[in-house]
């Protein structure tokens, strides 16, 4: 009776069906995340050589760079989902944007703090207005803006749609922001400064880096699947509540 009242347009927008899908995917991604993060940490901390210039501090790269990559990949995925949500009105796509956003913000935060911790011994300062770090900081504010907007409406559906539009505008503006920050940076700073994660990465460093990137990715997929299930449940609970209050 209640289920008939909720329009189930799409198969996996049903929490039960999504739960079954999640149960199939989760064991694999979780195992992969544990394996890759474990192996990656081992190689990152023990089984890789220190950098000839930066010494042991280069090990911060193995969390800083994957976090930086994830911060951008997650925003890109959110934008793709926002497009799907707006064009096909797929409920799951809208919810994905919301489910992924806090994770993206967390990755961005990790990237910023790890970058700062790396910058202190390398540059002698906790914060340097390096082009990458500055872009990352603005990306962090884009995430915060999305998170503040999506919860600011009494009707959650309206918040999701407004958020999706914001993410699309953000993804158009992001390359322009990056370009402008690069421009600004070359204008104001001598190019001799060492950039974090310089162009030459030794092969012995590539393995832990790749393992960590894979681990971050698998972790993200696992958690985002759980968050999607959680969002679907919340939607169902709301539908139930309004259905009973109408009676």
């Amino acid at each position: 009776m209640t289920t008939a009242r909720i329009p189930l347009l799409h198969r996996y927008a049903n929490p039960a069906a999504f739960g079954r899908l999640a149960a199939k995917v989760l064991p694999w991604t979780t195992a992969l995340a544990i394996l890759l993060l474990g192996l990656g940490s081992y190689f990152a901390l023990f089984a890789s050589p220190p950098d000839y210039q930066q010494g042991e501090s280069v090990r911060i790269m193995y969390v800083h760079v994957p976090a930086a990559i994830m911060s951008e990949v997650v925003y890109g995925m959110m934008a793709a989902a926002a497009v799907a949500g707006i064009i096909w009105k797929h409920a799951l796509a809208d919810l994905f944007v919301k489910a992924a956003a806090p994770l993206g913000a967390a990755f961005t935060f990790v990237c910023l703090v790890a970058g700062s911790l790396w910058g202190k011994p390398m540059w002698g300062a906790w914060w340097v207005w390096d082009a990458r770090l500055t872009s990352e900081l603005i990306l962090f504010f884009l995430y915060l803006g999305y998170l503040a907007l999506v919860d600011a409406f009494d009707d959650p559906q309206r918040g999701l749609r407004a958020g999706a539009i914001l993410v699309l505008v953000g993804v158009v503006d992001l390359p322009i922001i990056k370009f402008s920050v690069d421009w600004w940076n070359t204008l104001h700073q001598p190019a001799s400064l060492m950039t974090l994660s310089g162009p030459k990465v030794d092969p012995s460093m590539l393995l832990p880096l790749m393992l960590m990137i894979g681990g971050f990715m698998a972790f993200f997929v696992s958690v985002v699947v759980l968050r999607l299930e959680s969002e679907l449940l919340a939607r169902r609970i709301r539908a139930w509540r309004t259905a009973t209050s109408e009676e």
Partner: protein, 221 residues
């Protein structure tokens, strides 16, 4: 087109009738900029260096002031619902609103900026560039701001939320406008910076109405 012009004139009249709306952003712009010498000291060379950035940062903040009311009044009294039903597309309505916002905030900033430049000892060679950068940049601020106002329409805690959404999107304008003024101050050509600003203006003119109209439709649904 004539419907759009009429809407623009109507909006403008409403804004002008509330005279304080017209004065508040400029007053804020002037006051906030003049607070900086009080904070950092009146040393002329320092002020010359800071002037472009100070003027532009406060200009960004000043455009925020009137933004949350851009669609709010029409949204609350139902005018926006009627406008959405009118034959004029929402995109054109957005542009009319942007134009009215620019005339009431951007244009006064343009007039006040040279005076601030004098008081902050802006480089002699920078005034024209300052004005051109404001002329090209402030309309983009109004456009991006209109998008922010549309997407937060109907949201709780509108004002602070609007600032959080819009300020990161303002970054490229700030950078290219101030680097243009800086280049002119050093005797270099500000042309490339200004051309980029002009391209943002055109891109904004094409893209922003659609994004803002989509956000308005979401709020009106």
């Amino acid at each position: 087109m004539s419907a759009m012009l009429r809407l623009f004139a109507h909006d403008l009249k409403l804004q002008l009738r509330l005279g304080s709306d017209l004065i508040a952003p400029v007053a804020f712009f002037v006051l906030a900029t003049l607070l900086v010498p009080l904070g950092v000291g009146p040393e002329p060379n320092l002020l010359t260096r800071l002037a472009p950035g100070m003027i532009w940062v406060t200009a960004l903040l000043a455009t925020l002031l009137a933004l949350d009311r851009l669609f709010q009044r029409d949204f609350e009294d139902g005018t926006l619902d009627l406008l959405a039903l009118a034959p004029l597309p929402l995109e054109a309505i957005v542009l009319a609103k942007v134009a009215a916002h620019w005339v009431t905030t951007g244009l006064p900033l343009l007039i006040a900026a040279p005076v601030l430049g004098l008081m902050l000892r802006l480089d002699h060679g920078s005034y024209v560039t300052l004005e051109v950068s404001l002329l090209l940049g402030t309309p983009v601020l109004s456009m991006v701001g209109a998008f922010g106002a549309a997407v937060t329409l109907g949201a709780r805690r509108g004002g602070a939320l609007l600032a959080l959404l819009v300020l990161p999107l303002y970054v490229p304008i700030l950078i290219f406008a101030t680097s243009a003024i800086g280049a002119a101050g050093e005797g270099l050509s500000p042309r490339p910076h200004l051309l980029l600003l002009a391209s943002f203006f055109v891109a904004g003119l094409v893209l922003v109405p659609f994004a803002a109209a989509a956000a308005l439709r979401n709020a009106l649904e």
